[in-house]
């Protein structure tokens, strides 16, 4: 479909002329319903006030004077424009590079990573005459689509198995190779327990720099060697340390606003020289199975949460065991005595940050939805297709919760059994 709005003067004339034989049809085509304003026979503007506005979702008539609702077609166009308002930016010959090593938990950029990329953009775009480029070095398997929207100009991806898991020495070898070949002016890493804090400190000492840690603010400062001054947290959160920005900085979450106005090229890049794989003295033997019931609800990765709609509690507990999920509950389930108080999710319970939140029979009171704001993916199993939890959910299945949970358990057990047979 073409984006250009075409005018049909004849139809417009018919719409203005309510005595025309095709007036009603032309109006309906335009989508305006009854005409509310037309030029009278004497040249005066005539208005029909009852035709103004539209019926809102609650059955109440709403009048929208912003102009967005005047024509049905215009609304669609405006919505498309709202989605596509980002400006495309391509930096062909950057004056310098700002290297960022995001954490990428689960193969996606976290909010912390996006904030960090926003900070990198601030450093890169400070001088519009000589813009720098943001280089992101990412490891492992990727699921992220919006690297350009996050503000990345150049992307160096290393997907080898060598870099998966706890491989600080292999990753450090890559970063030192980047340093030798591309010599970025700034290195930015997230000061997060997901790996950025560890890797950043190793990198800084390898580059013989004294990094700024816990950085939460930077400001331009002409007297500093790099032209920037930073403020970081120190001394167990009790001190603010202000110092000139060094080459390597480890920044906290919310250190800058994420990029939201531009779209960058995210051009793939590769290193010319081969990376020397040093013999690692640390061997990763993989994850250890932990008891999901022992994991604190606030930091659990996968939560199976029960609400008023659950009747088969034995089946629910069994499903949690089989899926390896931490159990949660809505307030109703706790008040009715089916679950312990420390399992309650929501405003009066625990604010959870799970990657996947599987809500069974929870309608989604606003207090509960507040508690799951930090969750990435929400899956809802419910009987009522109109409830608020379904609106929040990324995947919603309408049906009886006990049957679906039983089918889920059967499916998972079947797949695990198949794997064991194959092995």
């Amino acid at each position: 479909m073409s984006e250009i709005r075409r005018r049909d003067p004849r139809r417009e004339w018919i719409v203005r002329n309510r005595l025309h034989a095709e007036h009603a049809r032309a109006l309906a085509e335009q989508g305006g319903g009854a005409a509310s304003e037309w030029l009278g026979p004497s040249g005066l503007i005539r208005k029909y006030p009852h035709a103004i506005g539209f019926i809102g979702p609650n059955g109440i008539k709403r009048i929208d004077r912003s102009g967005a609702q005047q024509c049905g077609q215009a609304v669609g166009g405006a919505r498309q424009a709202a989605q596509d308002r980002r400006r495309n930016v391509t930096i062909e010959a950057p004056a310098f590079l700002v290297a960022v090593v995001p954490d990428m938990p689960g193969g996606r950029l976290s909010n912390h990573d996006r904030d960090l990329l926003g900070l990198a953009r601030r450093l890169a775009d400070a001088d519009p005459e000589r813009p720098g480029a943001v280089l992101a070095v990412v490891f492992g398997e990727l699921k992220e689509q919006g690297f350009g929207e996050a503000g990345i100009d150049r992307l160096l991806h290393l997907g080898d198995d060598t870099y998966v898991g706890f491989a600080p020495e292999a990753r450090l070898a890559v970063l030192t190779a980047v340093e030798r070949e591309l010599a970025p002016r700034h290195w930015l890493l997230p000061d997060s327990p997901l790996g950025g804090a560890d890797l950043g400190r190793r990198l800084a000492l390898r580059l013989d720099e004294r990094p700024a840690t816990g950085v939460w603010q930077i400001e331009a400062d002409a007297e500093s060697p790099m032209g920037w001054r930073c403020t970081g947290r120190g001394g167990a959160e009790s001190l603010d340390i202000q110092r000139p920005l060094p080459r390597v900085a480890l920044a906290l979450a919310e250190c800058a606003e994420p990029v939201d106005e531009t779209r960058h090229a995210a051009e793939a890049l590769s290193l010319a020289e081969a990376i020397l794989s040093a013999l690692s003295r640390i061997e990763d033997l993989g994850h250890v199975a932990v008891d999901p019931a022992g994991v604190a609800l606030a930091e659990a990765e996968f939560i199976l949460s029960a609400g008023n709609g659950v009747k088969d509690w034995e089946g629910f507990h069994h499903a949690a065991r089989v899926l390896g999920a931490t159990e949660g509950a809505s307030r109703v389930a706790v008040d009715d005595g089916f679950m312990a108080r420390h399992r309650q999710v929501g405003a009066t319970g625990t604010w959870v940050t799970a990657r996947v939140y599987l809500a069974v029979g929870i309608s989604g009171a606003i207090q509960h939805l507040q508690g799951i704001q930090g969750c990435d993916k929400v899956v809802a199993i419910n009987l009522d297709p109109g409830c608020d939890m379904i609106k929040r959910a990324d995947l919603a299945v309408i049906g009886d919760s006990a049957e679906i949970l039983a089918a889920l358990v059967a499916k998972v057990e079947q797949q695990r059994g198949g794997q064991r047979d194959a092995a």
């Binding site: 689960g106 120190g234 001190l239 250890v288 932990v290 996947v356 299945v397």
Partner: protein, 274 residues
């Protein structure tokens, strides 16, 4: 029947902590956890020895704090009778002194907390020592499972309560944080009786730190929800918006098997199903 296990020499680096409310000197929480871990290792492996090391100024307050670690001995004759104190002037860099001492009498395992509670507290010390000594470093240790033939099997704590098993060749540096076992209480009597073996070392002042401006932490500004809207209508809609559907998938009129299949697919894609 079991293979003869040999004890290891463990050095715990301890620092003077800071009480988060009163600001008084105390034993640092993470370092005390590290010592607890080392004492557990001493019980696990017969013939292990735990020694304590601190570099810094000697004062009344810091001595009281350091004696907090010495009071953690399991019983009479269980070690921890002394603490090695590398005495330096206030505001000097502790890393060269510690690296020199450790290189002179290398233990097999060095345990530290991950961040100091005073001054810069950047958490760089274990990394700097590892870089200087050329030893491997493991951060966020939760437990030491086994030490055999100079190879340690460790459990590393990950965010979200997860654990990862690692094998590290000794000598190594490990740092602990809040996931390590909580420290036991400190007994006053043994703490008083133990001695501090102080040797003064010459250290250069940390000039860089002296140039920085240190101020009590102020509250970080709370991030506001920024609404970029051209018209009043858009602004109002943004302010009054309820949580709306973000293009989620809705499955109605499906059999439980189909629904379960869709859920399993999502769980697999997210990697939470093991």
């Amino acid at each position: 029947m079991r293979p003869e296990q040999q004890g290891v020499e463990v050095t715990v680096l301890v620092s003077v902590g800071r009480h988060p409310v009163t600001g008084r000197a105390r034993r640092a929480d993470q370092d005390a956890r590290g010592l607890e871990l080392a004492l557990g290792l001493e019980r696990q492996l017969a013939g292990s020895r735990v020694s304590l090391l601190h570099a810094g100024a000697r004062g009344e307050e810091s001595e009281a704090a350091l004696r907090g670690y010495l009071g953690m001995a399991a019983g009479a004759g269980m070690g921890l009778a002394s603490l090695t104190l590398l005495e330096q002037a206030e505001g000097s860099d502790a890393i060269p002194a510690l690296a020199e001492y450790l290189a002179g009498a290398p233990p097999q395992l060095v345990v530290t907390g991950s961040r100091a509670e005073r001054n810069e507290g950047s958490g760089l010390l274990p990394y700097a020592l590892a870089e200087r000594l050329g030893w491997p470093l493991v951060n966020g240790l939760a437990a030491v499972e086994m030490i055999e033939n100079g190879v340690a099997t460790l459990l590393q704590a990950l965010p979200r309560g997860q654990r990862r098993r690692l094998k590290v060749r000794l000598p190594a540096i490990v740092s602990v944080d809040g996931a390590a076992p909580a420290a036991r209480q400190s007994a006053f009597g043994p703490a008083r009786r133990a001695e501090l073996e102080a040797t003064s070392v010459d250290a250069e002042p940390d000039y860089e730190l002296a140039e920085w401006q240190l101020a009590p932490a102020r509250k970080r500004p709370k991030r506001l929800k920024i609404v970029k809207a051209a018209s009043a209508r858009d602004r109002f809609k943004a302010a009054a918006a309820k949580a709306e559907g973000r293009g989620g998938q809705l499955l109605t009129d499906v059999t439980p098997q189909q629904g379960a299949e869709a859920i399993v697919k999502l769980l697999k894609a997210e990697g939470v199903l093991r």
